[in-house]
Symmetry: C2
Subunit: 341 residues, 2 copies
């Protein structure tokens, strides 16, 4: 394989106020550095587009350092090794890692790099950014470790047709729970019920969420897996059971706020119901990813677990594709295809 | 002891909007019913005035049923048995129970009545409504069971000079924690530091809470015991450590709201810090009260634990005395003296 000479990257040009605009990005082109000892060169094939990326663009302390102005935008990705000066990986190996929004990644691949080999025979490459990637791990560990549902309990998940939500719901069904999704639009709701086997889905664009919860959660809510925050979180708080667990995984409704985040007015329901609200960040479970991948891969092989990716083609479409997340325009895990394998 | 013939009671006349007013109460007088089998007659000596009482006056589902219109207002109390047709208690026994805002209580005293015998030799009667009563139990179980602080951690408690707060802080000191209180006014702050041994206290009426937390919690906040909600909760959320625990015990700043409760805007700090916010209601620990009383009584006997009550005299002063809680006018556990022993 002959070595290419140039790379193309999206760099953060400015910290966005509200929704990111084109002015917040700079598309750069630069020569590839020579490969050093211990490094590999990866041709990026698919990029993961995630709501969390919006948070990485902000200044200030969070669970991960912000992307610096001028830095290549951080992104999870899968790619193929084209050259290697590391004993860990060989050309032709498929890898996943935080390769960033660019065509080529060159870097060291020690144990702490987070770069791991993936098996495209087990599932198509985009699925490694979905059910077998970060969203899948977020769903698996967030639900089982923080939510801790038991058979017969009712689990509600928001952004139910999103990458995390669809896995949360299917895991909960496998655990014997009643599962109710909240999603935007009839298509998404039909999908999670008819394709994924959720017991019900509330279309937040159509009707009243409180009424929907009352109807579809006749025994109340034991676990709520929250990806959205805002009014939906507040409404679910009115329907929780004694000793309920609320997993705070994200708050996509609030990420582009230019005013203060809306806090949950009904948080005193935690007191009344002796309930718990707890945050989770998937990176904490890095050492246990193989355990999560093994379980989900087994269900995939058995045919009892589904995944869906929404693939947008072309690195150049990164800025507009990212916005789809915040407009609810993606249907399934949003993935940007950068190159053919 | 000759039997009295009349009782006097404060009944709930209307559901208050905002702060309770005189119009929300009705002072009634009625003949005492004859004592039935299994019942005792209790002369009420001291009533406990608690922020939670405001919640009991509202309609709607909560952790305990609302007081009905026309019903004697619910209140914890201590009193002395004047007549008994129960084998459990004898005239002269001191009891604690939910005797209500009245001069005399007549009722059955089975195992489920929540009426228990207390020992006035161990601590003065008002202390049985404080450190050895509900507030003490709330502090003990809320802190140890939900907050779970370990030696060396930093514990912050709001309403630090209140009944629950002063016990929370002293328990945390006994457990080897750094303890920082938040209270209103220089006197209260001086008291919790100089008399109770807190490491520091932030006067929310004086200065900036964020600055105070920064100064007095140099290693961040591991456990926050929240009695107040509102802006104080929101500010503490900006200073919590990884895996912090927030005990939601009350929200006195919000109880008289005529608008929506202010939710914590900074709740996503739970996500960033993988932290937990959990509600507690002391009644859940009823079976374990003897365990809590034993530990606190031991520290009282050893002289390593203090308590302070603010006693207001006269049943007729109930409506105005209750308001002191919401104006921060009480200094120590607020108790209404109804009669001499």
């Amino acid at each position: 394989m002959s070595e290419v000479q140039t790379n193309q990257q999206f760099r953060l040009a400015a910290r966005p106020v509200g929704l990111p605009t084109d002015a917040d990005w700079q598309l750069t082109e630069e020569a590839l550095a020579p490969l050093e000892d211990g490094q590999v060169r990866v041709k990026v094939l698919y990029l993961s587009l995630d709501p969390a990326m919006r948070g990485w663009m902000n200044e200030g302390k969070s669970y991960i350092r912000p992307v610096a102005i001028g830095e290549v935008m951080r992104a999870g990705a899968v790619g193929v090794v084209t050259a290697s000066r590391s004993p860990r990986f060989q050309p032709g190996d498929h890898l996943s890692g935080a390769f960033g929004v660019q065509r080529w990644w060159t870097g060291a691949v020690d144990e702490n790099s987070g770069v791991v080999k993936i098996d495209p025979a087990l599932a198509p490459l985009p699925a490694w950014l979905n059910v077998l990637g970060m969203p899948g791990m977020t769903a698996w560990f967030g639900l089982t470790d923080i939510g801790q549902p038991t058979a017969g309990e009712t689990v509600v998940v928001s952004a139910a047709a999103g990458a995390v939500g669809m896995t949360v719901g299917q895991v909960a069904k496998h655990l014997g729970c009643r599962v109710v999704g909240i999603a935007g639009g009839a298509d998404k709701c039909r999908f999670v019920v008819e394709e994924l086997g959720f017991d019900a889905c509330i279309d937040y664009k159509e009707g009243n969420i409180a009424t929907g919860l009352k109807q579809h959660c006749p025994n109340g809510v034991d676990v709520y897996f929250d990806n959205v925050g805002g009014e939906i979180l507040d409404t679910v708080l009115t329907r929780i059971n004694m000793k309920a667990r609320i997993v705070i995984c994200g708050a996509i409704s609030q990420y582009n706020n230019t005013t203060r985040v809306t806090g949950p007015s009904n948080y005193l329901s935690l007191l009344v119901n002796r309930a718990r609200m707890e945050g989770m960040v998937v990176f904490d479970y890095a050492a246990r990813y193989p355990e999560g991948v093994a379980r989900l891969a087994q269900w995939l092989r058995e045919g009892s677990f589904k995944h869906r990716e929404h693939v947008v083609d072309g690195l150049e479409n990164f800025p507009s594709a990212l916005l789809m997340l915040f407009e609810g325009k993606n249907f399934g895990k949003l993935v940007l295809k950068v190159a053919d394998a």
